[in-house]
């Protein structure tokens, strides 16, 4: 009988002293070496033989990758090896980035989140990665270390397709920065899966909204859709609609309708494309109305 639980295939575990050496190793072994954090995505890929790297380059011990710092001027910087549980437990994250906390809690069970990282969730670039939409409505960027120096890239430019990101060989994401959310902002992450807690999202919506006197409506909304297109979708047209028109229920419905039109869902084991589209409409409408209620009640 075939073993339904294949062991990990052969690979070599690499642990180098510095990020410079790790980046150089990755550069010298293009297509053969994978950066390794919690491994919770990597191992799944290795076990079903979707991924066959010869080398796993551990980053967890590297200096600087373990820091989680909040500065009211600069915002939040999350080192690559910070686990989702460390993020969820951090007071400044709970207070200033509640949508990210909500989303991080959706990932697997408690044990898994002791290994799984925000950076891994982002670098894995799955359109249903729970933390990607919230990180995008917070206008996050990735800070990249490479053999030729460092650079930062807004998340909007980081995702190229499912599992594809804008990194070249030898580049390592060393941290993620989320600026301080605008004053008075409210938001929510609404996610629908086959079960309430541990399954991957069928569709999810992240909404962040805040008062802004420079917009005609007096508010701005950011809306991101997950699990319904090759990459997370920012619904620009609906964002513009809600900043240029008076805020009223019919405009939330219209925005939700635009969201439904802007996604490109697929049929898969979790849901049909059609159901996903309807979910986008319902979740967007629900999230906009609820966020609006909380904006008014503060």
């Amino acid at each position: 009988m075939n073993n339904p639980l294949p062991r990990l295939p052969e690979f070599e575990y690499i642990r180098l002293e510095t990020i410079e050496k790790a980046a150089q190793f990755l550069k010298d072994h293009p297509g053969e070496a994978a950066p390794y954090l919690g491994g919770t995505d990597l191992f799944v890929g290795l076990r079903d033989r979707r991924k066959q790297p010869k080398y796993l380059v551990d980053l967890k011990h590297l200096e600087g990758l373990n820091s989680l710092t909040f500065d009211p001027a600069k915002g939040l910087t999350i080192g690559a090896r910070v686990t989702l549980n460390q993020l969820i437990d951090h007071r400044d994250v709970q207070k200033n980035y509640p949508i990210l906390c909500q989303a991080a809690k959706q990932v697997g069970g408690y044990q898994l989140r002791n290994r799984a990282t925000l950076c891994g969730n982002i670098c894995n670039a799955s359109p249903c990665g729970d933390t990607i939409g919230p990180s995008m409505v917070y206008q996050g960027s990735v800070n990249i270390f490479g053999p030729d120096g460092t650079r930062s890239l807004p998340l909007e430019d980081f995702f190229l397709g499912p599992g594809k990101v804008a990194l070249v060989d030898g580049e390592i994401v060393h941290s993620i920065t989320l600026p301080l959310p605008p004053e008075g902002s409210q938001g929510m992450y609404l996610c629908h899966g086959r079960n309430k807690l541990s399954d991957l999202a069928i569709a999810a919506v992240s909404v962040l909204a805040y008062p802004d006197l420079t917009s005609a409506s007096g508010f701005r909304f950011r809306i991101a859709l997950s699990a319904v297109a090759p990459t997370v979708v920012i619904v620009e047209e609906a964002q513009v609609l809600l900043s240029e028109n008076p805020i009223e229920p019919s405009h939330f419905e219209k925005a939700a309708h635009i969201a439904r039109q802007s996604c490109k869902p697929i049929d898969d084991i979790r849901s049909s494309a059609e159901y996903r589209r309807e979910l986008v409409y319902t979740l967007t409408s629900r999230a906009l109305n609820q966020v609006w209620d909380s904006l008014q009640s503060v």
Partner: protein, 154 residues
């Protein structure tokens, strides 16, 4: 394949082993150390039957490499008993029949044990949240939640 020497402590006992890169902590515990309390339910991070404490934190041992455990402290379900005496949590599981086939029990115990270290008096909803990553196909969970509550109440 290159072998790596690792030194670690498991259930308070010092060990040294030569391991290959792709050996998981789960297989090391069950096969190299013959501690078969820790179960292999899915080998995919889904079921929690393989949960052990790694430096005090519960992890799915099927998702950790043995080679990473150099200088680590590991605790498995066998480490819960002292001198053959069941721990309070184990007694509660026994008293409340929170065990049927028992396959999920070692993982449940370890996850719940660490929860009680972190939060000595969890509410039922905190218990449920902590145990999301531990699947049970038999009990329907109610008894397990009650057992954790009972152990926390004494």
């Amino acid at each position: 394949m290159k072998m790596h020497t690792i030194n670690f402590t498991i259930n308070g006992r010092k060990e040294s082993l030569k391991v290959s890169s792709n050996l998981t902590l789960l297989h090391m515990i069950r096969e190299n150390l013959a501690l078969t309390g820790t179960k292999n339910g899915c080998e995919a991070g889904e079921c929690g039957a393989c949960t052990v404490l790694l430096n005090g934190e519960p992890v799915n041992s099927c998702m950790v490499l043995a080679v990473e455990c150099d200088r680590a402290e590991i605790m498995t379900v066998e480490g819960l008993t002292e001198n053959g005496e069941l721990a309070r949590l184990q007694e509660s599981f026994k008293n409340l029949n929170a065990v049927q086939c028992g396959f999920c029990t070692p993982g449940m115990l370890i996850t719940a044990y660490e929860l009680l270290q972190r939060n000595p008096h969890p509410t039922p909803s905190e218990i449920k949240e902590a145990l999301v990553g531990n699947l049970c196909r038999c009990t329907g969970y109610e008894r397990i939640i009650q057992a954790v509550e009972q152990a926390s109440g004494e």
